[in-house]
């Protein structure tokens, strides 16, 4: 049980794919100009990540080591295409808003990275937890970036239901129109938000580890 919790927390926080690993940067920058788009992207990635980890872990003993990368890529590509067709059929709003970035999940470094680094060496159960952990870490990071960009860029959040465009899950507006930073919803705002957030998070982590080191030093001194 403790091991499962560890695997999950490592993927989601300690080795967060976005802010610590800097993996999967293309969708992180491209789909975060609104919260709903960012969450849709992350959910699609989680589905692919969990399933690809599961299947790759299942076939790990019959995959020859020399051709493992092409095998992984075919597994991932099949899953992505299936997901793309399902989304086009059942949730067209996500399908349309993500555009070319939905098929590009195939070349998302997080998916292939977890397959190579974790799923190819562990049992299917742990591989699913690992996929879920990294996926949730990706979801949290994308939601944070999407929230900051949409909130400061348009003055509020508008999260329209994926299934019915007349239902709004979240809808509020706080900042009056003349004070919004519309730059943040443009491409350059993506680089700026991610750079500032990554720097801030690194700063917080540095402070925490420094405090821990100091506390350890004090305890050792006693």
């Amino acid at each position: 049980m403790k091991k499962i919790k560890n695997i999950f927390l490592t993927g989601a926080f300690y080795e967060n794919p976005t802010f610590i690993g800097f993996l999967g940067m293309c969708p992180t920058l491209a789909t975060t100009n609104s919260l709903s788009k960012a969450v849709g992207m992350a959910l699609a990635t989680i589905i692919v990540l969990v399933l690809s980890n599961f299947f790759i872990s299942l076939i790990k003993s019959i995959t020859p080591a020399e051709v493992r990368i092409p095998v992984y890529v075919i597994v991932i590509a099949t899953l992505v295409k299936t997901l793309e067709l399902m989304l086009a059929g059942f949730v067209p709003s996500i399908y349309e808003s993500l555009g070319v970035f939905l098929p590009l999940i195939v070349v998302n470094c997080i998916v292939l990275g977890r397959a190579e680094a974790f799923a190819s060496k562990s049992n299917p159960g742990h591989a699913v937890i690992d996929g879920l952990g990294s996926g949730v870490g990706f979801l949290l990071a994308l939601s944070l970036i999407g929230f900051v960009r949409e909130f400061l860029g348009t003055g509020g959040i508008e999260f329209v239901s994926y299934f019915d465009s007349s239902v709004k899950w979240i809808s509020f507006s706080v900042i009056p129109g003349e004070y919004v930073i519309s730059l943040l919803t443009q491409p350059m705002g993506a680089f700026l938000t991610l750079g500032l957030l990554a720097g801030t998070i690194t700063g917080i982590r540095m402070t925490i580890s420094k405090r821990k080191a100091n506390a350890a030093k004090l305890a050792a001194g006693k």
Binding site: F22, L23, M25, C26, P27, L29, A30, I69, P70, V73, I74, A77, T78, V80, K81, E84, L85, V100, P103, L104, V106, V107, N108, C109, L112, Q186, P187, M188, G189, A190, F191, L192, L194, G195, L196, A198, G199, T200, T202, G203, M206
Partner: protein, 190 residues
């Protein structure tokens, strides 16, 4: 005239990195030195032109003819992976010095989203053969231009006094912000 606009649009205005966000991984990962940035740009150019041409032909004469469009992503990614592998083998055999200097970047290109992105964009936009070729030449040239400029700035950044948490990628991303701003000013040109 339209082709010229398409070419410069692909290089400058709809720049693959700064406005379409494709190929960010090599943009951030292989831009610490100018020489490696140029090597990466050259390798990506060759792969994108070859991959787009081959997938365009496959799409036109195999996938559409046999009505198996649902196989598209799987076929494209296999084509890209094979081209990268083949290029690596050919270079190792016939151009050992070039292979040595570019060797490490080649395997990375398979997972470069700019390659698959350009392939998909050519087909989604319904480009004909000439348009496809011009577009697939413009995209990697834009990539090379931006990654070269960015690596020159990053070489200088190494010596700048930057607050510790922002060292490395965070400050690089903030620099990219200003490059994106500069490139977006070219929008009215074509």
């Amino acid at each position: 005239m339209e082709l010229i606009a398409l070419f410069f649009g692909a290089v400058l205005i709809n720049n693959v990195i700064l406005s379409q966000f494709l190929g960010i991984c090599p943009f951030l990962g292989v831009s610490k030195k100018t020489s490696s940035a140029i090597g990466m740009g050259a390798a990506v150019t060759v792969v994108i032109v070859l991959a787009s041409t081959i997938t365009w032909v496959i799409n036109k004469f195999v996938l559409t003819t046999l009505d198996i469009m649902f196989m598209d992503i799987i076929v494209y990614i296999l084509v890209i992976a094979s081209i990268v592998q083949l290029l690596e083998m050919l270079m190792k055999k016939f151009m050992p010095p070039l292979y040595k200097s570019m060797g490490v970047f080649l395997p990375l290109i398979t997972t470069n989203c700019a390659v698959l992105g350009t392939v998909l964009m050519n087909i989604n936009n319904g480009h004909d053969f000439v348009q496809m070729f011009i577009y697939s030449l413009g995209i990697p040239l834009g990539f090379t231009l931006v990654i070269f400029l960015f690596s020159s700035i990053r070489e200088r950044l190494e010596h700048a006094p930057i607050p510790a948490p922002f060292k490395g990628l965070p400050i690089a991303l903030i620099v990219a912000t200003f490059m994106a701003a500069a490139f977006s000013a070219l929008k009215g040109m074509f």
